[in-house]
C-alpha cells in the first residue's frame, strides 16, 4: 500500500504520482467492439495530459465550470481529471435527465464547456443552447451520427487531444507549464460540484473540495484495506457522489483499476468477464439480481428447482454464521460446501461475483431478506450510510459486525449525534463547502460549528453500537391515534417480494395505513406466462384480479410480520391497490437514483388516495406522463382496491402474558 503523502492533495497530482510509481499497472479498462482495452497509469497520464492541454487551448481556465454528460467511459473520467489539472471544476450531470432538468443545472452551474458522450447528448445540449449563453465548445467522444453536424462549436475528443499533443511536441516549455499548473492546485480548491437529485424541489449543487473527497477516500480505503489490486466496474451515474468517490477518487488514491462496461445493458456480462473484487451498489441492484435468479429458477426443471431451493435453505440457515466465523456443526458445513460447489458459486459466477471480496449497499435501506440472502451465499455484503454532503461516508459496517437493520459505526474521522427530534447529524473532514450559489440552503443544513443535518431519523442501537435509520425525518409520522408510522419501513418489507417493485405507504394523520403498489413486470410477467394469463400492457397486468390475489398474499404476510413488532403493529396495512403505471423519474415520481418522492406521488394520485380512505372498491384516475424527449401524454385507468385483514398485536400479548 502507498504511504500517505500529504503533498498529494489533488487528483491530477495523484495521477502523475501513480504514473511514476505504478506506471505499468492497469488504471482503466473499457470494452469496445467486443474487446477489452487497457490503459496503464502511465498511458492514462499521457491521455489526460494531452486532453488537458487541448482544453486549455479551447479556453478552459482556472475557476471555470465544465460539464460531463454521458455513461461511464474512460474519456469522460479523463475529462474530469484533465479539467481539474487546469483548476477548472467538473459538474457531471445525469445523462438521462430530461432537457428541462439538465438545462437548469447547466445554467445554474454556469458551465462554459461540455464534454459529452455521443449524438444523443449533443442533440440535447444543442437544443438548450439558447438558454445557456455562457456555454462555449462542445466536446464529444463517440463520432457516430455527428459527421454532418455544424462543427463550428463541436469538436471530437480525439481532436482536442491532437491539439494538446501538437502543443507538447512543438513547445518544450509546454509540459513544464502544465505541470506547474497542476502544482498550483490545492487541497482546499473545489474538486467537483455534484447536483443532488433531491427528494424535494430543484437540485442543489453540492460543492466538494479536494480535501473533502481525498481524505474521505483515504479513510475508506484504509477502513476496508483497498489497494491497487482491486478491480471495480463503473456503471452508476457519474453525477452520483458514490461513483465519483468510488470509481474516481478512491481509484486514484489507492491505485486500483476501474473497468468501464461496453454499454449500460452489458454490465452483468462485463462484470462476469472482469470478476470485480469490490462493489458498491444501491439495494435495487441486489434486488434485481435476486429477482432475476428467482425468476430463472422458476423456469428451470423440477430437479434443478428442488436442488436450488434446498441449498438456498441450507445457506439461509448456516451461510451467515459461517461467514461471521461462528460455531457451526460439521454436517452443516459439509452441506454448505456441497451447496457452494453446485449452487452458490455458479449463481455468483453468473453475475460476476466470484472474486468479490467486499460489497456495499447504500443509498437506501435494503430489505433484510435480500441482504441476508447475499450474505448467506457467502458474499461479504455490508451496509453503508452516506450523503453527497459528506463525500459519501457517514457510517459503515466493519467486517464481522454486520446486521441487516443497521448501517454501521461512524466512519474514520466522522462524529455523529442525534438531535432531540431524532434526526441524525454528523461532522467530518468530508463535510461539503456549501451549496453552489445558495447560502440560505447551506445554512439550513449545516450549523456554524460544522454539523450537518442529514434529514434522516435514526438512533444509535444500544445492542450493537451501530446507527439505525428508520426513515426520512420528515416522513416519519403518526396515525390519528398516535401510532408511529414509518412509511419506508413498511415499504421495504413489501419490496422484498420479487413481485413488488415499489410500494408507497400512506397513513400520516389518517386513521389507518394504506399502500399503493407497483408490480415488477419481469417477475409477474414470468408468472403470467407460466399460468396462461394473457395481458397486453403493464396496465392490464397490474389490474388482473389474479395478480391482486398474489399481492394480497404478500400484504398479508407483511401484516403478520408487523404484528410481531410492538412499535409497528398498529401500522398494519388495511387497504391496498396496484398502480396502473410504473413510477418513473421522468414524471417526477422517483428521483434519478430511483428513490420515491412520496409527497409528490400522493398529490399526483390523490383520487386514488381518497378512494383508499372513503371505502370505495374502485377508483378512476387520469395521469399525465412525460416521455424522455419532454412531450406529454395521458393515461386513464380504473383501479381496484382490496381490503386486508389485520392481526392482533402479538408482541403486546406476550408482554401481558408474562
Amino acid at each position: 500500500m502507498q504511504q500517505v503523502d500529504g503533498s498529494l492533495d489533488t487528483l491530477p497530482k495523484f495521477l502523475i504520482h501513480n504514473a511514476k510509481v505504478i506506471g505499468a499497472r492497469p488504471a482503466m479498462r473499457h470494452k469496445d467492439l467486443g474487446i477489452w482495452h487497457t490503459w496503464t497509469w502511465a498511458q492514462m497520464l499521457e491521455e489526460v495530459r494531452a486532453f488537458s492541454i487541448g482544453l486549455a487551448d479551447l479556453g478552459l481556465k482556472r475557476g471555470d465550470k465544465f460539464t460531463i454528460i454521458g455513461s461511464n467511459r474512460p474519456r469522460l473520467y479523463w475529462a474530469m481529471c484533465a479539467g481539474q489539472a487546469l483548476g477548472a471544476v467538473p459538474v457531471p450531470v445525469y445523462a438521462d435527465a430530461v432537457a428541462d432538468e439538465m438545462a437548469f443545472v447547466l445554467g445554474h452551474a454556469e458551465v462554459t464547456l461540455a464534454v459529452v458522450e455521443d449524438q444523443e447528448q449533443v442533440d440535447k445540449v444543442i437544443a438548450m443552447a439558447e438558454r445557456l449563453p455562457r456555454l462555449g465548445r462542445l466536446v464529444y467522444d463517440e463520432q457516430r451520427g455527428l459527421k454532418d453536424y455544424d462543427h463550428s462549436r463541436l469538436i471530437p475528443f480525439v481532436e482536442v487531444q491532437a491539439i494538446g499533443r501538437k502543443r507538447l511536441a512543438g513547445d518544450a516549455g509546454c509540459l513544464a507549464r502544465w505541470e506547474a499548473g497542476v502544482a498550483e492546485g490545492k487541497g482546499s480548491d473545489l474538486s467537483v460540484i455534484l447536483y443532488t437529485s433531491g427528494t424535494t424541489g430543484r437540485s442543489k449543487g453540492v460543492m466538494l473540495t479536494n480535501d473533502n473527497t481525498i481524505i474521505s477516500a483515504r479513510n475508506a480505503n484504509a477502513f476496508d484495506r483497498l489497494d491497487q489490486d482491486e478491480e471495480v466496474i463503473a456503471y452508476l451515474p457519474m453525477a452520483w457522489v458514490g461513483d465519483y468517490e468510488f470509481s474516481f477518487v478512491q481509484a486514484y488514491v489507492a491505485g486500483y483499476c476501474v473497468n468501464c462496461p461496453e454499454a449500460p445493458d452489458t454490465v452483468v456480462q462485463d462484470r462476469r468477464e472482469i470478476g470485480t473484487t469490490y462493489a458498491f451498489a444501491p439495494p435495487r441492484v441486489y434486488e434485481n439480481i435476486l429477482t432475476l435468479t428467482t425468476v430463472r429458477m422458476a423456469d428451470a426443471g423440477a430437479f434443478k428447482r428442488k436442488a436450488f431451493d434446498f441449498f438456498i435453505g441450507v445457506a439461509r440457515r448456516w451461510g451467515e454464521k459461517i461467514l461471521d466465523g461462528e460455531k457451526v456443526p460439521l454436517a452443516a458445513r459439509l452441506l454448505y460446501a456441497i451447496g457452494r460447489f453446485f449452487v452458490y458459486e455458479p449463481v455468483k459466477n453468473q453475475f460476476g461475483l466470484s472474486r468479490i471480496r467486499l460489497a456495499y449497499t447504500a443509498g437506501e435501506a435494503i430489505g433484510p431478506e435480500i441482504f441476508r440472502f447475499w450474505r448467506a451465499m457467502g458474499i461479504n455484503l455490508k451496509q453503508l450510510y452516506g450523503q453527497t454532503e459528506a463525500s459519501v461516508y457517514v457510517t459503515a459496517q466493519p467486517d464481522g459486525e454486520i446486521y441487516a437493520d443497521t448501517v454501521g459505526t461512524p466512519s474514520p474521522d466522522v462524529e455523529i449525534k442525534i438531535s432531540d427530534k431524532g434526526e441524525v447529524l454528523f461532522r467530518s473532514p468530508g463535510v461539503f463547502v456549501g451549496y453552489y450559489k445558495d447560502p440560505e440552503k447551506t445554512a439550513e443544513v449545516r450549523t456554524p460549528d460544522g454539523w450537518v443535518h442529514t434529514g434522516d431519523a435514526g438512533f444509535l442501537d444500544t445492542k450493537t453500537g451501530q446507527l439505525k435509520i428508520i426513515d426520512r425525518a420528515k416522513d416519519v409520522g403518526r396515525l390519528k391515534d398516535g401510532t408511529l408510522f414509518a412509511p419506508k419501513y413498511i415499504e421495504n418489507k413489501l419490496k422484498f417480494y420479487p413481485n413488488i417493485r415499489e410500494a408507497v405507504a400512506v397513513g400520516a394523520d389518517r386513521d389507518f395505513v394504506c399502500v399503493m403498489i407497483n408490480i415488477d413486470q419481469t417477475a409477474v410477467g414470468s408468472w403470467a406466462e407460466r399460468n396462461d394469463v394473457v395481458y397486453a400492457s403493464y396496465q392490464e397486468l397490474a389490474g388482473n384480479p389474479r395478480v391482486y390475489d398474489i399481492i394480497a398474499n404478500h400484504v398479508d404476510e407483511v401484516n403478520r410480520s408487523l404484528s410481531e413488532e410492538e412499535v409497528m403493529a398498529g401500522a398494519q396495512i388495511k387497504r391496498f391497490l396496484v398502480l396502473h403505471k410504473e413510477l418513473d423519474p421522468d414524471d417526477g415520481e422517483l428521483t434519478r437514483t430511483q428513490k420515491l418522492r412520496r409527497g409528490h406521488i400522493i398529490d399526483r394520485y390523490s383520487p386514488l388516495v381518497e378512494a383508499l380512505y372513503n371505502g370505495s372498491s374502485t377508483a378512476q384516475i387520469t395521469t399525465e406522463v412525460t416521455f424522455e424527449d419532454g412531450h406529454k401524454g395521458v393515461i386513464a385507468a380504473r383501479v381496484a382496491i382490496r381490503d386486508m385483514k389485520t392481526y392482533p398485536v402479538r408482541a403486546a400479548e406476550m408482554v401481558r402474558a408474562a
Binding site: 467492439l33 451520427g145 445493458d265 452489458t266 456480462q269
Partner: protein
Amino acid sequence: MRAPSSGDAALSEVLLAVEEVSLSFGGVRALTGVSFDIRKGEIRAIIGPNGAGKTSMLNVVNGFYQPQSGRITFKGKVRTSMRPYAAAAGGIARTFQNLALFRGMTTLDNILAGRALKMHRGFFWQLIRQGPALAEEVEHRRRVEEIIDFLEIAAIRKIPVGRLPYGLQKRVELGRALAMEPDLLLLDEPMAGMNLEEKEDMSRFIIDVNQQYGTTIALIEHDMGVVMDLSDRVVVLDYGRKIADSTPDEVRKDENVIRAYLGQPHGVSA
C-alpha cells in the same frame, strides 16, 4: 421526417430496374407486367394489400423466383432472371418476413454467417486458422462487431438467437444482412409483429443504415405510418399489377390506391 427526399433521389442513377416482369405459378398470376426502378441511395417502399405480390416481387429481385418474362437490370447488367447466389454476390442482401436465422447459433455467429461470401481463404486455411486466414477472420470479426455496436445488441452477443424476443431476432437478421455490406438491402416486413417502441427503434436503424452506410433499401411494409415516414418513393401493387408509383404524399391521395385498400370488388371497374 426525412430531409433528403425524392429531390436528390431523382437525380441519382438507377441501381436496379425491373421491366415488364410477369410471374405465374401454374394458373395463378402473381405478377403481371410490373416495371419500376430503385435509385441509388433511396429508400423505396413496396406496398399493397395482402396477396398483392409484394414478396413475390422481392423474391424475383433477389433471384429466388424466376419470372416467365421481363428483364431485370442491376448495376447496369441486364438479365432475364437472377440466381440467389449471384444476387448475393452482386450485393443484394435481404431479410425475411418470417425470420430465417440459425436459431441454435449465437447472435455473433449468425451475423458472422453473413460474411460467408466475403471469406476468401479456403476451407483448410480456415481450419488451420493461421497467418492470412487468422488475419482475415480478425477482420471479419471486427466488421461484425461494428454492426453489433451499430445495432446496439452488444448485450445479446453470445446468446443463442432462439432465446431472444422477436423484435431482437429481427434486429439480428438485419445485422446479418448488413454483414454482407450490400449495395441493395431488401427488407420484407421489418416491423411485422413489433410493438410501437420496437417499430420506432427499427425505423431509426433503417434510416441510419441508409444515411451512414449509404445503402439503398427496398422495403415491404404494412404500417402506413412507417412507410410514409421512411420512404422516398413508393410503388403500390394490387393483384400483381402496379397501380401507383410516386412519392408518399401523392400515393396517399391516389384514387386507385385508396380503392385497392378499401377493397372494392376486383374487376368491377375494369
